[in-house]
């Protein structure tokens, strides 16, 4: 497990990091928590000539709320996101999802920016980010752009990120009203990537009688994280209840073509998508109902 030779840069500012990226772009990789990149380098599946370490760049690790939006710095670790009291109150879906990533060591090192940039088709965050319709802030020496998560992740390990760009921030809504969220993850061994992951957001009418807004994000079941739009449409406007969920959850498998591998077949993943969608929505509903009273 010896990587090929490479040169390391340790920029001290965002500007410096962006300049290095502009210069070495194609042949460089930025290093954040290293929990996806280093395993690849050790197996020599990735052989970057230059490694640009972001750990000493100030101002990339934060969680703060501004005008109804929660902004999260790209270098914020999974552990920080899982523990954030702001997120637990105003966007518990993201913190619950973070708490289910890997194990303690992984959560202490891995970053949200790294996870999104790596775009593992079974990563956990993207399910929640889909359900939350998250926006990403991407920057290069040429300037800044804001992209929706759905447009950013294009396929397995494939994103819209240009060689000279960095993810600097993730934006998710600060939730209010009668909302409830849940992340259901199925893995066969603690700490593993998801076989199927389902993130659900339920917003009830003020009296709790109707589903006002429903979002369901799925991971592990397609070549990129997706929303279960069939489920969302079936529930929005419907009477809030478990029966409606049971019926709508069947639609979670529409249009999916999950992978088969040594762990599980495509068909199993499809069935589990339905089962977990149901569980996630039931939990989210119960949590939303708690807020109605």
């Amino acid at each position: 497990m010896y990587p090929a030779s490479f040169q390391v840069f340790i920029p001290a500012s965002l500007e410096e990091a962006l300049e290095l990226l502009a210069k070495y772009g194609e042949e460089a990789k930025v290093l954040a928590g290293g929990h996806s990149l280093i395993p690849l380098m050790r197996l020599r599946l990735a052989k970057p000539k230059y490694v640009i370490y972001l750990g000493k760049v100030p101002g990339l690790s934060y969680i703060r709320e501004e005008n109804g939006t929660i902004r999260i710095g790209a270098m914020t670790t999974h552990g920080e996101i899982a523990a954030s009291s702001l997120l637990k109150a105003r966007n518990p879906l993201l913190s619950e999802t973070a708490s289910r990533i890997g194990d303690l060591q992984v959560r202490n090192m891995g970053t949200i920016g790294g996870s999104i940039a790596h775009a593992d088709p079974a990563a956990d965050y993207p399910a929640a980010l889909q359900a939350l319709e998250a926006q990403l802030v991407v920057r290069s020496v040429e300037g800044e752009r804001v992209v929706g998560i759905d447009d950013f992740i294009l396929g397995p390990y494939l994103t819209d990120l240009q060689p000279n760009e960095l993810i600097v921030e993730v934006r998710v809504p600060s939730l209010t009203g009668a909302f409830g969220t849940a992340y259901e993850k199925l893995n066969f061994r603690a700490g593993d990537f998801a076989i199927v992951g389902v993130a659900a957001l339920v917003q009830l009418s003020p009296d709790g009688s109707k589903f006002e807004k429903v979002r369901v994000g799925l991971t592990g079941v397609s070549d990129k994280p997706v929303r279960a739009r069939g489920v969302e449409e079936a529930l929005e406007g419907a009477e809030a209840g478990e029966e409606a969920i049971a019926e709508a959850a069947e639609k979670a498998k529409e249009g999916l073509n999950p992978p088969s591998d040594i762990r599980a077949s495509s068909e199993y993943r499809l069935e589990m998508t339905v089962a977990l969608t149901r569980r996630a929505l039931e939990k989210a509903l119960a949590r939303a109902r708690d807020k109605v009273a």
Partner: protein
């Protein structure tokens, strides 16, 4: 065991903890020698191929590369490795394992070329620059395929890929008892391939001194003397010119018994290059090139009466041996398996035939339990199936068949040594609240919860072994154990054992035995192991033999020292030897306790040597080679309670309880640790682990990502209880506790899961019972539809 017990039986923390837990251990990778260079191995790109050509020129030119060496280089310098357990009466074929492949590769772990470089990074760069032209050959990975006519041939020496064919019959003829039976239950059971994956990968450092013509090899080994013997033979150097040191070893589980190509290669190259050479396996290499375990297809028939009484067991096994026969490999699916097929039961007929089958996969050898888990799985699984067919409670089927107590001569000819089998069984059921769980199960079933209770009773033979039996089965050496105990003039004691503990804690438990026998403080006893220049020839640590065999040697040597000390004490006290009593580290004259000398006084006198009786030599040490009279037979009953998620089929273990009789427990803390670890490994086989090859012989589970070793979060608390019936055939009464957990936990958990699904009409699902495998089996048998949407 005679004498006072001040340490034995107490929960004493490991003496090795300070060193190991604070990072002061010394592992092979911690060895750094001046001028040391690094080896890296190129392994075969194909599971079966002819090597047409190897171009090393580009690799050789890289700066820092000392050389690239292929099979051509090694084939006349180093003899191929052969198994050390050449089974008798089994038509065993002489399978040779070349240390570096030439002409042919037979699995993807085969080494094709070796790079030596100034640093490991350069060595791995150079591997990428070697160009090998292969002619791929047809591959076979599956045993049932490998024995079919026309299957790819792996070794010319073994036509039809059968490396040996072993047969054993005990008791009455199976056909005869089957004719008397009310039913014969048949099943094809798969005991899947596992990967030992010790925390420390394998490694070797070799250093040659041309001035003394001495070669020193540091290697990850469970048996350094065996390593020395086999390596000296392969390298063609005199045994006394080879020193093997196995320093701290980070786990083995059987995988470090084997003498591998890696250590032989670095030894040869250290001699040829005149520089010390180091090799440390990568984790991927550990998965590919270090032995695997289990991997049977067992065709089982059990003949029984309607009462549940089992009359006979017939087993036909195809044991996947992989591409070569490992050091102990042929004995594992035969002697250690077939002879255990009566279990703790009054079965009247055991009939077993095993074919050791070669395939294009990693060699399979002894892995924690080695044969005994496979045998126990068959019996315990089949008893549950039988119970279901007869509408009986699985506990009752065991009651009908279980041996009351030992000594008992089993139908296999083994003399089970001691124990209260039925009593231990009932105790386990009681402690686990078996019948309460049965009520919970039926209550909760009404609410759609799937709860299951599983039992596994086992007996195993450990304390390997009486040498006469080992030899009769074709084992290369005897299976005794040795020790040298040396008392220093200050009365401090060094114990040089031929065992080689690697995590089990015998530096502590052996010190407990010695401290009790000599009446000294445990702090005054140091246990030394692992260096062939320090310890007498020893057979090593495996097969739960270290305490019963190695510990017995230690005890006998300590007693011998005490007896010599008594003679010296008599001289010092000017009394007759018969009148000398020994207590709490003091020798005194019977009736006048004020006339006494301490053990330390005696030790000093042994070296000042002026007051010794005329027939006594100076010094105070003893060497003992202890050859046990019989195996030991630990046994017990484990109970698991599980819940299966009715939607995902993920299994949660709600309770796990073990009652084991391993004879006298020297240190309950260490023994519990062995049970906990063993149970976890047993659960791992039941629910998580399996090594998967694709059709081309590529190992798809070649890392921790894909090979699912459960984590601390996946396993339950294990409740461990002991019953102590002393082993009658050794002086310390210990039976061995290293493997009981792995043997019992697998069937206990599998039985529990299938018990949870029993009302759905599912009889058996092959391991591992991952959520997907359960789902698939239910789907294929139409049960899933029955469960319906309501779940």
């Amino acid at each position: 065991m005679a004498g006072e017990r001040r340490y034995i039986g107490r929960r004493i923390k490991r003496k090795e903890d300070l060193r190991l837990l604070t990072g002061r251990g010394l592992y092979v990778d911690d060895i750094h020698l001046p001028g040391m260079v690094y080896a890296a191995f190129l392994r075969s790109a194909y599971a079966h191929a002819r090597i047409k050509s190897i171009d090393t020129s580009r690799a050789e030119k890289l700066p820092g590369v000392l050389g690239v060496f292929t099979g051509e280089y090694f084939k006349d310098k180093v003899a191929p490795l052969m198994t050390a357990w050449a089974l008798t009466n089994a038509d065993l074929k002489p399978i040779k394992w070349p240390v570096v492949a030439y002409e042919k590769t037979r699995f993807t772990g085969d080494i094709v070329a070796v790079v030596v470089a100034e640093d490991p990074y350069t060595a791995y760069d150079a591997l990428e620059a070697i160009e090998v032209e292969y002619e791929p050959l047809p591959v076979v990975v599956d045993v049932e395929e490998a024995v079919k006519p026309g299957a790819p041939q792996i070794h010319d020496e073994a036509p039809g890929n059968v490396a040996f064919h072993w047969k054993f019959r005990g008791g009455r003829d199976f056909e005869e008892v089957a004719a008397e039976a009310d039913l014969v239950v048949k099943k094809r059971l798969i005991n899947q391939r596992l990967i030992p994956a010790a925390m420390e990968p394998r490694a070797a450092v070799a250093s040659y001194n041309p001035g003394t013509e001495e070669l020193t090899v540091w290697v990850t080994s469970q048996n350094p003397h065996v390593h020395r013997l086999i390596m000296a033979g392969s390298l063609g150097i005199p045994e006394h010119k080879l020193r093997v040191i196995a320093p701290d070893v980070g786990g083995g589980f059987g995988s470090k018994i084997q003498v591998y190509p890696g250590e032989v290669i670095v030894a040869r190259l250290a001699m040829d290059l005149g520089r010390p050479v180091k090799w440390v396996e990568t984790r991927r290499e550990n998965f590919l090139g270090t032995i695997h375990g289990r991997d049977h297809v067992d065709y089982v028939e059990v003949a029984a009466k309607k009462t549940g009484e089992v009359l006979g067991v017939r087993v036909r096994t195809l044991a996947n041996m992989g591409a070569y026969l490992g050091t102990a490999a042929p004995g594992v699916p035969t002697i250690l398996f077939g002879l255990m097929l009566a279990g703790p039961y009054k079965i009247k007929s055991v009939d077993v035939e095993v074919k050791g089958v070669l395939t294009n996969t990693t060699p399979v050898d002894a892995y924690r339990g080695a044969g005994r888990p496979e045998a126990t799985y068959i019996l315990e699984r089949m008893l549950d199936v039988l119970a279901r067919r007869l509408g009986m409670d699985p506990a009752d089927v065991r009651r009908v068949n279980m041996i009351e107590e030992a000594p008992y001569e089993a139908v296999t000819g083994l003399l089970y040594d001691s124990g209260k089998y039925r009593e231990v069984f009932e105790k386990a059921l009681k402690l686990a609240e078996y019948y309460r769980w049965r009520e919970v199960q039926s209550e909760e079933r009404k609410r759609g919860r799937l709860i299951g209770v599983g039992i596994a009773s086992y007996i195993e033979m450990s304390g390997l072994a009486p040498s006469r039996i080992a030899r009769a089965t074709g084992f290369g050496l005897g299976l005794w154990e040795s020790v040298l105990i040396r008392v220093h003039p200050t009365g401090k004691v060094s114990v040089y054992t031929g065992s080689h503990p690697h995590g089990q804690g015998e530096e502590t438990s052996f010190a407990q035995i010695v401290a009790d026998a000599l009446g000294v403080s445990i702090d005054d006893v140091e246990v030394v192991h692992g260096d062939t220049e320090q310890t007498p020839f020893g057979m090593g640590t495996y097969g739960s033999r270290t305490t019963p065999v190695g510990g017995s040697a230690v005890y006998k040597a300590a007693v011998r020292i005490r007896e010599k000390a008594r003679k010296i004490a008599a001289a010092l006290l000017e009394a007759r030897e018969e009148d000398i009593e020994f207590s709490e580290g003091r020798f005194y004259v019977k009736g006048s306790p004020e006339k006494s000398v301490t053990f330390q006084d005696v030790a000093l006198a042994a070296y000042t040597a002026e007051k010794l009786p005329p027939d006594l030599e100076p010094g105070l040490e003893a060497v003992v080679f202890y050859d046990p009279e019989n195996f030991t037979f630990p046994y017990g009953t484990h109970v698991a309670v599980v819940e299966v998620d009715p939607a995902t089929f993920k299994v949660k273990i709600l309770k796990y309880l073990a009652v084991d009789d391993a004879g006298v427990i020297i240190n309950p803390l260490l023994a519990e640790g062995q049970v906990h670890g063993g149970v976890v490994q047993g659960i791992a086989q039941a629910l998580y682990e399996y090594a998967v090859y694709d059709e081309s012989g590529n190992l798809l589970t070649a890392g921790f990502n894909d090979y699912m070793i459960p984590t601390a979060l996946d396993v339950p608390d294990v409740e461990s209880h002991f019953v102590e019936t002393p082993a009658p055939h050794n002086p310390i009464g210990a039976k061995g506790i290293g493997e009981t957990g792995t043997i019992a936990a697998t069937p206990a958990v599998v039985n529990a899961v299938l018990d949870a699904l029993a009302h759905l009409g599912v009889e058996h699902i092959d391991m591992p019972l991952t959520p997907y495998n359960i789902w698939k089996a239910l789907k294929e048998s139409g049960v899933l539809a029955k469960l319906g949407k309501g779940r």
